[in-house]
Symmetry: C2
Subunit: 189 residues, 2 copies
DNA sequence: CGAGTAAACTAACACTTGTTAGTTTGTTTG
DNA sequence: CAAACAAACTAACAAGTGTTAGTTTACTCG
């Protein structure tokens, strides 16, 4: 049993507040109050507000990068790869829905790490698009604009963090399956 | 030829800044600088920062409400209605991509109007879900969870504001058609 | 017991925030 | 020309911002 350090606890609570109001609207005094201490005491555990955001976002972004690397280099079919991408998003979003809010909405408030973040995101999207293009060539996927397909799928996956916490009755496996069906086969009968 | 009032100009520029950094991170001095005047001068034209946000969000939300009312009370088939919803989102998002950012990301910073906004949104989603449920009953739509279907489609549509300005080569009609195809028939071949 | 340490505290800082009051400028209109 | 007005300005405010310095508290362990 791994116990959470005080620092990790602060970052976790910060992510929760960031999700509710956004990075800029959360003050260090808000965060301190949520922790039950004074603002100055936070600095025994963390370096700066910006550092908290860095930690939240970059660790998540790297988790996606790593997942995508495994998927894109596998020997699966394109459709199989897509299902694994969906699974990756469902897993990470359910484990850390608070952090996902910062990743999606507050990356522009990164300072030193913004360029690095944007590179990770751009690499991820390129890998995604390549999978779709390969699927079109292989005849697995309908020949529509890969840009639009990726946009459609990815924005749905990126919004899972809002949706998953509201639907705790739905198992993650069930959600992954339903989503795969809808995103791949559509809703048409 | 209708000329823009100074007030409308301020609101338009504010929406642009809000899209880039979020409501909380944009200061009245930022806004003034973008307008080429001093912060105090803004108050000759607007009442408060909060008022700007109200105007941006509520006018858009009401535009969606009105569009949905027309669609949901029509005699179209469910699939036809869905296509019209997609068209509604494409149209509004292309006309006002800046405002859509505030609608999506900064509604929680509304003060007096937050409850009203949430009612509009909730009504909209209920109408949307009813259309899907009717489609399932009528056998037009696959029998999957309407919640998940709506979530998937609606999050894609809600993110159009990010995507449309980047792809000016794509005509709105073409985008509407491609999106309809992908969202309804899926990407599977 | 005494030393070390984790984690809280108070007080203060320099700066930024939204906003108000009162004034000046330049253009339009009777 | 004189009056009216739109729209800018300077100066200032009270409150809130992230952060630092230095101190106190309470628990752990040799």
């Amino acid at each position: 049993m791994k116990t959470e350090t005080r620092q990790q606890e602060i970052i976790r609570v910060a992510a929760k507040l960031f999700k509710e109001k956004g990075y800029s609207a959360v003050t260090m005094r808000d965060l301190a109050k949520a922790m039950g201490i004074k603002a100055a005491s936070l600095y025994n555990h963390i370096n700066s507000k910006q550092d908290i955001l860095n930690t939240i976002i970059i660790s998540l972004a790297e988790e996606f990068t790593e997942g995508m690397k495994q998927i894109s280099t596998s020997n699966d079919t394109c459709i199989e790869k897509l299902k694994k991408i969906i699974q990756l998003h469902v897993n990470i979003s359910s484990k850390n829905s608070y952090g996902m809010a910062s990743l999606n909405n507050d990356w522009m408030h990164l300072e030193t790490q913004r360029t690095y973040y944007k590179k990770l995101r751009s690499d991820y999207e390129n890998d995604f698009k390549t999978i779709l293009e390969d699927g079109i060539k292989a005849g697995e996927i309908v020949n529509a604009k890969p840009d639009v397909m990726m946009f459609s799928i990815l924005t749905t996956l990126r919004s899972l963090y809002i949706w998953i916490p509201k639907k705790e009755d739905l198992s993650l496996e069930e959600l992954t399956n339903t989503l795969s069906q809808i995103l791949i086969k559509g809703i048409n009968k």
